[in-house]
């Protein structure tokens, strides 16, 4: 499965005197199973790129094609279903549902997909075990540390077996130890589940462990290594 981006543009305030080109005529291919870091200074367009790849933000022009599915041509309902079934999200602030337990948070997207209760529970418990939170499965996010919450977020993103995970600065709020633990987990899941990870980061400890690093500046691809 491939993500193929052609001439992708995102312009904020296009009608104004000073339009902002967050992503500017970008061409990019990402293959299934890659572990990709998108790096660049603040305001370089990393988050905007991830949002467009994840189908949660509209493009100004260009195409985003995921395995033959053109995201820019999908209507809202199709896009929601595509995201639900193919893309997982990890956010900088974890964004777990505070009223649900760790287990319920992980089960959540699977339940949205309509899977049976028992299947959701089994998968969620399996993932929580993988991220080392088997004992904390009945705790609510407020009862977990930042690192533990982000591990729950990783498990949640992986639960519906998405083909891509978009992680927007997943380690920004974590200390060094938690960052290392989270990267270990993400790497092992990338290997075991074959899930493609695309994450934006400032953190050199993170991008040093990426297999591919895309350097972004002023909305344009500066380097792809």
């Amino acid at each position: 499965m491939t993500i193929k981006i052609e001439q992708l543009c995102k312009t904020y305030n296009p009608e104004s005197e000073f339009p902002v080109h967050a992503v500017d005529h970008l061409d990019l291919n990402i293959e299934q199973g890659e572990f990709v870091a998108v790096i660049g200074p603040s305001g370089s367009g990393k988050t905007t790129l991830l949002n467009m790849l994840g189908g949660i933000d509209k493009v100004s022009s260009g195409t985003v094609n995921i395995d033959g599915n053109e995201l820019t041509l999908m209507n809202e309902k199709q896009l929601i279903e595509f995201r639900r079934d193919n893309i997982g999200f990890i956010f900088q602030d974890y964004s777990l549902l505070p009223v649900l337990t760790a287990l319920e948070n992980v089960e959540f997207v699977m339940k949205l997909q309509g899977h049976a209760e028992s299947k959701c529970k089994q998968r969620a418990q399996e993932l929580l075990k993988k991220v080392g939170l088997e004992q904390q499965q009945h705790k609510r996010p407020a009862q977990l540390s930042g690192g533990q919450q982000q591990r729950v977020a990783v498990a949640r993103a992986l639960a519906p077996r998405p083909r891509f995970i978009m992680a927007d600065e997943p380690t920004a709020n974590l200390d060094a130890k938690s960052t290392a633990e989270l990267l270990d987990i993400m790497e092992s899941l990338n290997k075991e589940e074959g899930t493609t990870f695309i994450f934006s980061t400032h953190d050199s400890r993170v991008f040093e462990r990426a297999k591919r690093v895309i350097v972004f500046e002023d909305g344009m691809l500066k380097e792809d290594k």
């Binding site: 949660i56 809202e76 505070p98 949205l112």
Partner: protein, 414 residues
């Protein structure tokens, strides 16, 4: 899953939800008590009107209501009373000879309606015999005994044993009269009624007035819900040509609502008043819920953005918010109605003493102790309206949220 999430979201900010529920409970109890109080007044008024004045149904000569002339007696009375004796719906009936005249004591004179009553059947229709404050109920003994109200007794300075003179026009058009002796003094819940009525034996008044038929038949049924149908049946039966003389009956059959059109209007007005109070309460509560929900929803805008991003359909987000408002409304309305049932039950047992307003209430025929009552239908109406308004209140905040796309929603600060 949505239900679980919505329920937990409702209790996310316990203080805020509790304040909202408290407002709903107090509001609902207030409205129900107000409705109960109004219903209590109306029920009491209806009960007293039926007990003392109209019974369920009355039969008169059809011109009697316009001109209560002594000669306007009921047509075919014997036939009607025979029919009433056999009707299973009838609990009791009585016939009365009524004349309008003057009552005079040594001190004063007043206009009065003289009710010539049947001593056996009248107590089955009106509770007059149980409302004698001084003296005794009428019997066959003695010459011309009379029952006067306490109010009349006070005005005419009468006591038990006092002598009064009744004068009125007889069937020949001559003024007639006789001396009566006060046998008892009564008091009903209506000072207006007391002011205008005295009771004598039917035989005495008939002899004096040379009238040997009655002006009024009062009927009490076993069940109030049969009144309308029975009244129609009576009308059909006795508006047809009479069995004996084949002429059309001149009688009119009226139920208590027709006899007291003012009461009917008051009942409609009270109903309308109750509805207006309910609508005002529900509208105010609706705005309160919208306000709470707007706060609750907008502070979670980012969270809704995340839900959209991970694949929750906008219809489900709308459902989630409406479920939350439905839960608040259901719990608030449920507790409100539950507390109302409790308070109204307690007040219905103890009564609300309104002694300071007794004089004013009695003028309208209302007792000075009120027993609020709310029908099951009213409880269901209040619960349903509060609940539905709560659900509708969720629509606006839900609409505001689902207008946003995930990125816009997630860009909102929490």
């Amino acid at each position: 899953m949505l239900v679980k999430l919505a329920w937990r979201n409702v209790w996310r900010n316990k203080l805020r939800t509790s304040i909202m529920l408290g407002a709903m409970i107090f509001g609902a109890v207030g409205v129900m008590l107000m409705m109960g109080f109004m219903n209590g007044i109306i029920n009491n008024l209806v009960k007293n009107t039926i007990q003392w004045q109209t019974s369920h149904i009355q039969i008169h000569q059809k011109n009697y209501a316009l001109n209560p002339d002594i000669n306007l007696v009921i047509d075919n009375e014997a036939e009607i009373t025979k029919w009433l004796e056999q009707a299973p719906q009838v609990k009791a009936w009585t016939s009365r000879t009524l004349v309008n005249g003057m009552i005079a004591s040594a001190r004063s004179t007043r206009g009065i309606q003289v009710n010539g009553i049947d001593l056996e059947s009248e107590p089955k229709i009106t509770p007059i015999a149980e409302h004698i404050l001084e003296g005794e109920w009428l019997d066959d003994k003695g010459r011309n005994p009379i029952l006067v109200s306490q109010k009349t007794a006070d005005r005419l300075k009468l006591r038990v044993g006092s002598k009064i003179v009744l004068t009125f026009t007889d069937t020949t058009g001559d003024v007639t009269g006789a001396a009566f002796r006060v046998r008892g003094i009564f008091k009903t819940s209506s000072s207006t009624f007391d002011d205008a009525n005295v009771y004598v034996r039917k035989t005495d008044i008939q002899q004096l007035g040379q009238v040997y038929f009655d002006h009024e038949i009062a009927i009490l049924l076993h069940a109030e819900d049969q009144v309308s149908a029975f009244s129609d049946q009576l009308n059909k039966t006795f508006s047809a040509p009479s069995l004996n003389n084949h002429s059309k009956s001149n009688n009119i059959v009226q139920d208590w609502l027709q006899l007291q059109p003012l009461l009917s209007t008051m009942m409609s007005s009270m109903d309308a008043g109750n509805q207006i109070i309910l609508i005002i309460f529900v509208a105010a509560m609706g705005f309160g819920i919208i306000n709470i929900l707007l706060m609750s929803v907008f502070e979670r805008t980012r969270e809704f953005g995340v839900l959209m991003a991970v694949g929750m359909k906008k219809t489900n987000i709308r459902r989630l918010i409406i479920l939350e408002s439905g839960f608040i409304g259901g719990v608030g309305a449920g507790l409100g109605v539950f507390c109302s049932i409790f308070f109204i039950y307690v007040l219905n047992q103890t009564g609300i003493p309104l002694d300071t307003m007794a004089e004013g209430l009695n003028a309208f025929g209302v007792d000075s102790t009120l027993y609020p009552s709310v029908s099951l239908n009213d409880y269901v109406t209040v619960f349903t309206m509060v609940w539905l308004v709560s659900i509708f209140s969720g629509l606006y905040p839900a609409h505001q949220i689902i207008k946003k796309n995930p990125v816009e929603a997630m860009a909102e600060k929490q």
